[in-house]
């Protein structure tokens, strides 16, 4: 049974159908060709105008912008690197500067301290000297006053004792003599 079928397969492959014309794969219906030509040229015209040109332009524009972006990015990176280097340098400088400023400030502070202390000392010494001088002067004045008043009272006392009033010139002379005595 199966063998029968197998033997039949070549027959099937070669079989001519009773109905319909023989198939011809190389048949060339010209109207299909002309139709294809018209459709293809129509599609070509429409797509060229409304699709391919805008698409190509958009692709070119995008590619240009991508390439520009890449260039810009490279440039920006370079700039950033330069900036970073500069900032690092600046930062290092700033540290040094800060240290210098600190040292100077400390030095200034020390100097100021020295100066203030010296001034204060000086002032103190001067004040003490002035006070000493004042005291001396006051003491001298007081001594003189005491000497004068004691001379006067001694003269008066002596006058009253001797009962005579001395002339003015005598008076002065006497005082001077007394002072000399007193002083010696």
């Amino acid at each position: 049974m199966l063998a029968n079928l197998y033997f039949n397969i070549p027959v099937l492959l070669l079989a001519e159908s009773g109905h319909g014309e023989k198939p011809n794969p190389l048949a060339f219906p010209v109207d299909l060709g002309i139709w294809t030509l018209i459709i293809f040229l129509g599609v070509l015209a429409i797509l060229t105008k409304f699709a391919w040109k805008p698409i190509m332009e958009a692709l070119d524009a995008r590619e240009r912008s991508i390439s520009d972006d890449i260039d810009a990015a490279a440039k920006a990176k370079e700039e950033a690197e330069t900036n970073a280097r500069q900032y690092e340098e600046k930062l290092a400088n700033a540290n040094d500067e800060a240290a210098a400023v600190m040292a100077e400030a400390r030095q200034d502070a020390a100097a100021a301290k020295e100066r203030i202390l010296a001034e204060a000392n000086e002032e103190a010494v001067r004040t003490r000297d002035r006070a000493m001088a004042d005291i001396e002067a006051a003491k001298n004045a007081a001594v003189q006053q005491l000497a004068e008043s004691s001379a006067n009272s001694a003269v008066e006392l002596a006058g009253s004792i001797v009962g005579r009033s001395l002339e003015k010139a005598d008076h002065s002379k006497l005082i001077e003599e007394s002072l000399k005595r007193f002083g010696s």
Binding site: M1, L12, V30, D31, V43, L47
Partner: protein, 347 residues
């Protein structure tokens, strides 16, 4: 596509036989494969008889005869449709389930330009292409970022044609030919892919279609060459420069010229034939593999072996055809750009 159709057809043929032979006494439900495909075949199929009882050489029964096979791959004036669409009641036998092609040549006088299946499919392909690429152009013109699978897919193809086909073959002047090459590529691709859609057909499997496209290529190649070098210059450029002793060049150059011109014509003709033959052969192979199912349907045991094998083979060949659809569109466009490129530069 072909599978279901063939299966259905086969089933109907079986029903037909059941009825014709009046041999329905023994309800042996043997053909299990039929259940998978057709629910409506409720009544029993009789046990297979000796195949010799069937007239296997009859065109109606022979799934592998030329008429039947070519019927599936050639142009016609009707679309085949699933048979159940034409079935009014269960017992009705539908020999040919077809829907006529709508007549598109309304502007032509009656009797001229009857629209065939392939013509209709070309119009469909044209509409799809216009829709797709005008949509894409609109999207791209807005300057948006390329977003979405479909947009990127189409763009990838466009860029492929530009960078892999046009640029390397034509050189610096490639931009002028880009619209032509892009249209060529996508038109062929669309027609090839429509051939993979069930119940449609592959218009590129018809010689007039590929010949018309090759004619366009020929026109562009010759036109651009003549534009570049002048008519005489273009013809002269076909003959390579030779240093010949004596007066040999008086003989050789005309000979070479004849050969080169002949070659020039032949390579464009081959362009048409290559695409046509590839598409036709691919679809024929598919039809044959599916046809095996019909041939062995007279025998249950044979069917059990052959049907799954045929289904697997037709799946594999469908995948191959899908690849070929892209490949042939690429090859055609590639060769077209190669010819354009060689016409731009002297030998």
């Amino acid at each position: 596509m072909l599978l279901t159709e063939e299966e259905k057809k086969k089933d109907h043929d079986h029903e037909h036989k059941d009825g014709a032979d009046h041999d329905d006494a023994h309800a042996v439900k043997s053909d299990s494969q039929h259940d998978d495909h057709d629910g409506h075949e409720a009544h029993a199929v009789e046990a297979p008889k000796d195949p010799s009882e069937y007239d296997l050489a009859d065109g109606k029964e022979a799934f592998l005869n030329q008429t039947h096979l070519f019927h599936h791959v050639q142009d016609s004036y009707a679309f085949e449709v699933p048979k159940f669409l034409c079935k009014k009641n269960e017992d009705e036998i539908v020999e040919n389930a077809t829907v006529g092609v709508p007549n598109l040549s309304l502007f032509l006088p009656k009797g001229y330009g009857k629209t065939s299946k392939f013509m209709f499919l070309e119009v469909i392909a044209a509409l799809i292409l216009c829709g797709l690429f005008i949509w894409l152009a609109g999207k791209m013109n807005k300057g948006d970022k390329p977003k979405g699978k479909f947009w990127n897919l189409l763009e990838a193809f466009v860029v492929f044609v530009r960078d892999e086909i046009a640029k390397p073959n034509i050189g610096h002047d490639y931009k002028r030919f880009l619209p032509f090459l892009l249209t060529l590529f996508f038109f062929i691709l669309a027609l090839n892919l429509l051939g993979m859609v069930p119940f449609l057909g592959s218009a590129t499997g018809a010689l007039p279609v590929t010949a018309a496209l090759a004619l366009c290529v020929f026109a562009v190649v010759a036109g651009s060459g003549i534009q570049k070098m002048g008519f005489a210059g273009f013809l002269k450029a076909q003959v390579p420069h030779m240093d010949l002793p004596f007066n040999l060049d008086k003989v050789m150059i005309p000979l070479m010229f004849a050969i080169e011109i002949f070659g020039f014509l032949v390579k464009h003709a081959v362009l048409a034939i290559r695409l046509f033959a590839n598409m036709l052969a691919g679809h024929l192979v598919l039809a044959i593999f599916v046809g095996f199912i019909g041939v062995v349907s007279v025998s249950t045991s044979l069917s059990l072996v052959v049907t799954p094998a045929s289904v697997l083979a037709s799946i594999a060949f469908s995948l191959l055809e899908l690849f070929v659809a892209f490949l042939q569109a690429y090859v055609f466009t590639f060769l077209a750009s190669l010819f354009i490129g060689s016409a731009q530069h002297a030998h």
